[in-house]
Symmetry: C2
Subunit: 394 residues, 2 copies
């Protein structure tokens, strides 16, 4: 069992009435002039953006808007945000949207407090010393960025999609209303469920499998999100189901399921290159890769994969043959992906088989030119990455 | 499902090496002159106190000591602490011990920032506006005070044991080393396990039973702490078992298992009067009362008690008769209490049957002279309290 730190200071305000507290929360955390940061269509169409603007106006909190954040948020938009905040002397960022908007807000927050290029944090050249306070109104549960210390930005000049992890960028508050997620398209809901589960799976598959409480909580979370994720596709306006997925998204990525274990995140690393190159939805990319990753690494801790199969997926335990149990678990997970409309391979994801050159480019980018490994259950080298991409390409 | 806030900002530093970070954590949270607050025997005997003092001295952090906190911490000691902090111009409190020491530290922290009598917060006359920063080194897992907003103090003049709940008093950090709990006597370990489980049970039994994720996490926590609590009595130096109990103690009371439900805490309210009058160990008092409370209120939500019986205690579900399942669950819980050396009635707790006058005094104190109810699953009036005390007295 690993020693651990658990730090999740974000104030979560969850439920049907939660949005009424936004301006009060901004004031509580010191905001007086706000950057309103969002994507586009959904915040506007749902009326949420207008409601928030009306609330801020009524509370005499001035704001400047910056919309247009795209999925896999880009560095050029971050630069734009930094310029606006400096120009208008804003002191708080309110992100309205999903993980892309929140990550864009985090990057802006770091960048404002730094004289150099904010990309330095993502390229590993510098560490943030400070961050502007940020709150969020979450509309798309998936990324978990509302309670995590992570932040992924794509450099739209180089197509590098890199992450920066830092406690300073954690949300001061996260407002979550499951009603706002009723209108999420089925594909996006399913991709979100996949991403949520993967955040806990990336912490579950480790060599540190003696933290019984973390295991029990992780398995409880995975079973619940999986069950509700499948049901909600047939019943998209069910508050109970939407609420479990939304809250599960936060708990899956706020380190609760990492206490005593060691995170792996190799599947995430492999996927980030896929979505940087092909613009695919992150959750769908994870589903396309996970089974190949699992089969490639499972012998590092075969009983762990057997435990996952039995306790999360309900596979009957073959006590004499943990490998058989583990393999049935991977197959059951892939069957689940198919049932919720997710791919289980790269061809299912992109619509074609990738060329060997493309696979090599993916592995080269993922290993940053063969200079780094990713993952912990098995530290994946360039060769491992290429092998997994090839497996997933079949 | 209830709307909810979840706010658990305490930085948890957990594990074998955790204590090495104490002086660094004090500095991180602004401490420069520290009140070292503790109980007595255990912190001194274990060498922990000397280690902390040596670490603070090495880090050039001056401190003043105030030991002697007793179980069911008393107001007179809180006054003493407030005087010392003011006299020596201290700016941080480090609590070393269990819930009693942490609660005493919280009360001192509130009192320093208040011109009136700190008891005003406990008697409901005032609300705290501020609290001195506090960190803790937890040595006795049970009360959960290291991550909770609660604080219970006994007024040693009036024998009233009252609580005050406020976010301002939350620990800045909580250092937890399971090795420190190896020497806890069996009785105290068992009472701690009882208290830990009760903190989640007090949130589990509500009318809001549609938050599936919270249920799944609560049940996972209860099963794990119960299993490890029973095993550890036969294997007191097992790190894995001690770690689950210690971390379970924090998660059971940091509101994680309250998200979407409504807390009850009637058993706690009934017990506080018992320990105020008879000085019994809080956890043992809870065990003595819970079965009677459960049988008295279960018809408010009988399927909830059946779910508890099946999912936590492994009782076979009698699908045709939820009441039978529920009753078997209460009996199974009481059998568990007996196996770990806890009482399941007042006579087992105190060694004699209480007189009717004593029962009336308990109910009168608990209802503050018939002016308040306690609990939410069923709001208990004075008559209900007396009936439950009578049931538990058999």
């Amino acid at each position: 069992m690993k020693d651990f730190n658990f730090y999740a200071p974000t104030e979560v305000v969850f439920g049907k009435e939660s949005e009424k507290q936004i301006s009060q929360l901004i004031r509580k955390y010191g905001g007086t002039k706000v950057l309103l940061h969002y994507g586009g269509q959904s915040a506007r169409r749902s009326g949420l953006l207008d409601e928030v603007k009306a609330q801020l106006t009524a509370a005499n909190i001035p704001f400047t808007e910056l919309g247009g954040v795209v999925p896999n948020p880009v560095l050029s938009k971050v630069y734009e945000g930094i310029d606006i905040v400096r120009r208008d002397s804003l002191d708080f960022i309110l992100a309205i949207g999903g993980g892309s908007v929140i990550d864009s807000a985090k990057a802006i927050g770091y960048g404002i407090c730094y004289d150099g290029d904010v990309w330095d944090f993502y390229s590993g050249k510098a560490q943030a010393k400070s961050c502007m306070p940020i709150g969020c109104v979450l509309t798309i549960p998936a990324a978990g960025s509302e309670m995590s210390y992570g932040c992924v930005i794509t450099n739209d000049k180089t197509q590098r999609k890199w992450s920066y992890n830092c406690d300073l960028g954690r949300m001061k508050f996260a407002v979550m209303n499951p009603l706002r997620t009723y209108t999420l398209p089925a594909y996006q809901t399913a991709a979100g469920v996949t991403d949520i589960m993967m955040h806990t799976m990336e912490r579950y598959f480790s060599h540190h499998d003696d933290m019984l409480l973390t295991d029990a909580i992780a398995e409880a979370l995975l079973r619940t999100v999986k069950e509700c994720g499948e049901k909600v596709l047939h019943d998209p306006e069910n508050y109970q189901l939407r609420a479990q997925i939304m809250w599960g998204g936060s708990l899956a990525h706020n380190n609760l399921t990492e206490c005593g274990t060691q995170k792996d995140f190799a599947t995430h690393g492999l996927e980030h290159e896929l979505s940087a190159m092909f613009g695919v939805t992150h959750g769908a990319g994870l589903a396309a890769l996970w089974g190949s990753w699992a089969r490639y690494v499972m012998h590092e801790n075969i009983t762990r994969f057997a435990q996952f199969a039995v306790n999360v997926l309900g596979v009957r335990n073959n006590f004499k043959d943990p490998e058989q149990t583990a393999l049935e678990g991977v197959a059951a997970m892939e069957a689940f992906y198919h049932r919720i409309g997710m791919p289980a391979s790269i061809p299912e994801l992109i619509g074609r088989t990738l060329t060997e050159d493309e696979l090599i480019t993916l592995a080269d980018n993922c290993s940053r030119g063969k200079t780094i490994t990713i993952g912990n259950l098995k530290k994946l080298t360039y060769d491992d990455m290429l092998a997994i991409y090839r497996m997933a390409n079949q």
